[in-house]
């Protein structure tokens, strides 16, 4: 079946079997391997991408379901060569160790911050409770999300000609 998906702002077409999971469409057909697969029961969240801005577990969606829609993967977080505040914050706050859960975590966090730019500790933990991290114990992930929220708000308050947040 032929499908067209806007991935990170670019229209991509492919001819795929309906049973091809969205995660495999992204990884194998479109070559974007930043989206990871960590389980087979929709529990771990390593595969989270944004579909029309909403976090979705791409291992539990067929690629054909994304036909005509827009998908954002971790590769699409940067803009104009600048890191998204969430990416910068994850590095700054040591919010990652092995990096495998990180793309899904960051996209979930980015979607949270769009709705709630200054979440409490509890609100962050609730929002990321669909994802598993084995390495960090979540403490620094929470810090990173809150720091990203603050940085994004500060950027909005600053005049346009100031340098963007540190990468």
């Amino acid at each position: 079946m032929e499908i067209t998906v806007t991935v990170n702002g670019t229209e991509r077409t492919a001819d795929v079997e309906p049973r091809l999971l969205l995660a495999h469409l992204l990884r194998e057909v479109f070559g974007l391997t930043g989206t990871h697969i960590g389980c087979d029961t929709t529990n771990c969240g390593a595969c989270v991408v944004l579909v029309d801005g909403t976090p979705v577990k791409s291992c539990t969606m067929f690629g054909v379901q994304a036909d005509g829609r827009s998908v954002t993967t971790v590769e699409g977080l940067m803009s104009d060569g600048q890191l998204h505040p969430i990416q910068a914050a994850f590095k700054e706050e040591h919010g990652l160790q092995c990096g495998f859960c990180t793309p899904g975590m960051m996209l979930t966090a980015a979607a949270l911050l769009d709705q709630n730019p200054s979440p409490t500790d509890d609100e962050v933990r609730w929002a990321i409770s669909g994802s598993i991290c084995r390495c960090t114990g979540y403490m620094n992930i929470v810090k990173a999300v809150q720091a990203a929220g603050r940085a994004a708000m500060a950027e909005q308050d600053e005049p346009a000609d100031k340098p963007a947040a540190a990468s």
Binding site: E17, R19, L20, R27, L32, T33, G34, T35, H36, I37, G38, C39, D40, T41, N43, C44, A46, T73, V74, E75, L77, M78, L83, Q87, A88, F90, K91, E92, H94, L96, Q97, C98, G99, F100, C101, T102, P103, M106, D121, V124, R125, W126, I128, S129, G130, S131, I132, C133, R134, C135, T136, G137, Y138, M139, N140, I141, V142
Partner: protein, 789 residues
């Protein structure tokens, strides 16, 4: 962040991680990200039964499916002598089953196809005729005289016993028990759980048919050791094998064993002349790869009435699964369990250990256990807690009374360890202070009066890591040294190649910091390479917290060798004698004339452009480090919980962790390791379980039933430190990766037991599910004497 521009960011600095740049961009290269031209995909057919004879395997329908290139069975592998392979514990393990299947999930056949979906389709077309046998799901049953022999493939095997092992002095211990006022006894089961790194295991095996060279991209925590084993197993010349561990999405010991999938994929690539990728599903990972724990433990602690510990005796029965595949130093059949005397000055101790085969997946030594130190630490800390109740002493006081004192180091333990350094009192006192221990006890008393269940749990652990000295430590004969190779480029930057293998621990940053400390080259100017056996010096890899103790030591030593040569070059440039040159902060200066100096950068350039007559050009060296001793990180954890008597739900109100890992290379990374370990300890204490029903069916072989805590369940941690350097380590560091997983389960469990101790409850085996806690309360008669159940 404002820092002094000339400050060398070596030891003690919270340097941001260099490896993060690729991970935050989604540009890591994990094994499943690797695509090679012509690559095929392999899927494994696994046994649905725990114990059964194989009467026949018919692969014809699968082989006929369009897109399937080959179907491999044990019979086929046997022609290449690859149907069985050695384990890391001198046993053998089936690659693909031939005569029998011996655990549910065991590898039976492998399909190689053009794409992974077709490979999975073909699995359903393989017909296997099984004849079920009795499934043995307990080591106790396994050791009964009439139990069927699981390993009837081994000549002369008449039962299911694997080993009997002892440590310590039985006679002295019996004598000590004879003098005891009180003996506290505990039977406890440390259940089977699984490291479950978020990335499953897998490989891309690429055997070049023209050159015979095999490149195997592999989720490996020990690429060099794996290469040597591959050479022995596959009969391929070792120089023709290149193992590459790219980025690894977590290891925790799960990626130390060699799995049948790696061997089958390599064999397939060899035969088919094309690269073969095998990536296991999560269910496969949980049902068949190296699990952890599964120790049935009995402990007895002998004490005087005033709380003085006299002796410890322990017996453990280990459930090793169908093949003895523990990844541990070969001399120690139960790993380093004999560290079980822990932080206490016990005059006498004895350990007896028995291992048994069962119809379950092989393994046992994994999951941040430091070679079974987790199990040992759990047993002693639970015993000590119960001893406190028995004697009517405060659990903190009882520990403080018996801790090895700081002036007793180096300390020879009754089971043969020589602890390098420690200050257990300082760590405990700091932990008690930070959590406000006295206030918690007051609060507990008040809460009890109102029928509320508050508990405070302690655990003080001493770990033994850094395997290890050549005299006692080897895996399959390979001694457990490690290595570092350092070259300084003409422009003053450096490349460091190491034999250890990070899976998220931050070596690309921390090892660069060691070089920075020794040579004054900033960490961002030191490229750290690891994982490629063609490009790195031989090392035994990363597990059991050994990287900093061995690889970090090698890095410091090689840096010093390079520095010594650099000093000679500096003397030549400064036209003074070597003795007149001193080094500090990346600069070689003349004693007494500090403004006559050359930077390490200038010296590096000179190593290629202006070296003294008779000197070998260049500036590089390699060091292989054989540690003189293990290192002994330690700490005290304190957990405060509340238990809801109506549902058995328990909540961590506060958790304070004091860790001492000696010199801390990067405190930010140390804290991250602690957070991760405390979370794993929590998961193990609260919810993680792999179990089996009577038929040998594995329950907990997916993430629905194998419960990993999310951010919502996971407690918040307060971390603190003391610093007691290791006297024998070049930079005084001890390693920390596993401390929190080792030490924390007992802290959580002790907290819940403490909340229920006034009801007479002394043990609940992990995981402490809500149901089990509730049932324990009911069995004890409820929370008030008048309440009916």
């Amino acid at each position: 962040m404002a820092t002094d521009a000339t400050e060398i960011r070596g030891l003690g600095h919270r340097v941001k991680r260099k490896e993060d740049d690729r991970f935050i961009r989604g540009k890591g290269t994990y094994v499943d990200d690797i695509k090679l031209p012509g690559m095929l995909h392999m899927a494994i057919l696994r046994s649905p039964l725990a114990h059964a004879k194989i009467n026949s395997i018919d692969t014809s329908r699968a082989a006929a499916l369009p897109g399937v290139v080959a179907v491999v069975t044990g019979e086929l592998l046997a022609e290449y002598n690859l149907a069985w392979m050695p384990t890391l514990s001198y046993d053998t393990q089936a690659v693909l089953a031939t005569d029998k299947v011996r655990f549910q999930g065991q590898e039976v056949a492998a399909v190689v196809a053009e794409d992974p979906y077709t490979a999975k389709d073909a699995l359903e077309l393989i017909d296997v005729d099984y004849e079920p046998l009795e499934a043995i799901v307990s080591p106790q049953r396994a050791l009964e005289a009439d139990a069927p022999v699981i390993r009837d493939d081994k000549e002369g095997q008449t039962g299911n016993a694997i080993y009997h092992w002892e440590a310590g002095d039985k006679e002295a211990t019996d004598k000590a028990f004879g003098e005891a006022d009180v003996v506290v006894s505990l039977d406890t089961f440390y259940p089977r759980c699984h490291p479950a790194p978020l990335e499953t295991c897998g490989c891309v095996a690429d055997v070049n048919p023209a050159t015979g060279q095999a490149t195997i991209y592999m989720t490996s925590q020990a690429p060099h050791a794996h290469r040597t084993v591959f050479a022995l197993v596959a009969g391929l010349p070792e120089e023709n094998i290149r193992i590459v561990s790219p980025d690894i999405g977590g290891g925790f010991g799960n990626k130390v064993p060699i799995y049948p999938g790696y061997v089958a994929a390599t064999a397939a690539s060899l035969v088919l002349g094309r690269p073969v990728k095998w990536i296991e599903d999560r269910s496969e990972n949980l049902i068949s790869t190296g699990f952890a724990r599964d120790f049935h433990m009995h402990g007895e602690l002998a004490l005087k009435r005033d709380g003085t510990m006299l002796g410890l005796r322990t017996h453990l029965l280990s459930d090793n699964g169908a093949f003895f595949a523990d990844a541990q130093p070969s001399k120690f059949k139960a790993g380093l369990f004999h560290i079980v005397t822990g932080s206490y000055d016990l005059p006498a101790a004895h350990v007896a250990a028995d291992g048994a085969y069962t119809n379950k997946a092989p393994g046992g030594v994994a999951y941040r256990c430091s070679f079974r130190v987790t199990e040992a630490s759990y047993l002693i800390e639970r015993l000590v807690q119960n001893a406190a109740y028995e004697l009517g002493l405060d659990p903190a006081e009882l520990r403080l009374k018996n801790f090895i004192k700081s002036d007793q180091f180096p300390y020879s333990s009754p089971t043969g360890f020589v602890y390098d350094s420690g200050d257990y009192h300082a760590a405990m006192n700091l932990a008690l202070e930070k959590i406000g221990y006295d206030d918690l006890r007051k609060e507990q008393a008040e809460a009890r009066a109102q029928g509320k269940l508050y508990g405070v749990g302690l655990a003080s652990f001493t770990e033994v890591v850094g395997a290890g000295p050549h005299k006692d430590y080897d895996i399959l004969g390979l001694k457990m040294f490690d290595s570092a190779e350092l070259r300084i480029h003409p422009t003053g930057k450096a490349i460091l190649k190491i034999g250890v293998q990070t899976q998220g621990q931050g070596h690309e940053t921390t090892f660069a910091q060691i070089v920075a400390e020794e040579l004054g080259i900033q960490p961002e100017d030191v490229l750290v390479q690891h994982g490629d056996t063609d490009n790195t010096p031989y090392g035994l890899g990363t597990y059991a917290s050994r990287s900093t103790p061995t690889g970090g030591a090698a890095t410091a030593m090689v840096s010093r060798k390079v520095r010594e040569k650099a000093r000679k070059i500096a003397a030549h440039l400064l036209e003074v004698s070597e003795e007149d040159v001193e080094f500090a902060h990346g600069s070689f200066s003349v004693k007494g004339a500090p403004d006559r100096a050359k930077t390490i950068g200038e010296v590096a350039f000179a190593a290629y452009t202006n070296f003294p007559d008779g000197m070998e050009p260049g500036l590089e060296d390699v060091h292989y480090y054989d540690p003189p001793n293990m290192t002994y990180p330690f700490g005290t954890y304190v957990v405060a919980v509340e238990v809801d008597p109506e549902t058995g739900q328990w909540t961590v109100r506060r958790m304070v962790a004091v860790d001492d890992c000696g010199v801390r290379i990067n405190p930010m990374i140390v804290e991250g390791q602690i957070h991760g370990g405390l979370t794993e300890g929590f998961g193990i204490a609260a919810m993680q379980l792999i179990t089996f029903d009577e038929g040998g069916n594995c329950i907990g072989s997916n993430f629905i039933d194998y419960l990993i805590p999310t951010a919502w369940e996971t407690p918040r941690f307060e971390t603190h430190e003391t610093v007691t350097p290791s006297p024998h380590h070049p930079i005084g560091a001890k390693g920390v990766g596993e401390s929190a997983t080792v030490g924390s389960p007992a802290a959580y469990v002790n907290a819940v037991i403490d909340a229920l101790s006034h009801l007479g409850i002394r043990n609940i085996d992990m995981p402490l599910t809500k149901g089990k806690v509730w049932e324990a309360i009911q069995a004890a008669g409820g929370t008030s004497k008048e309440a009916g159940s």
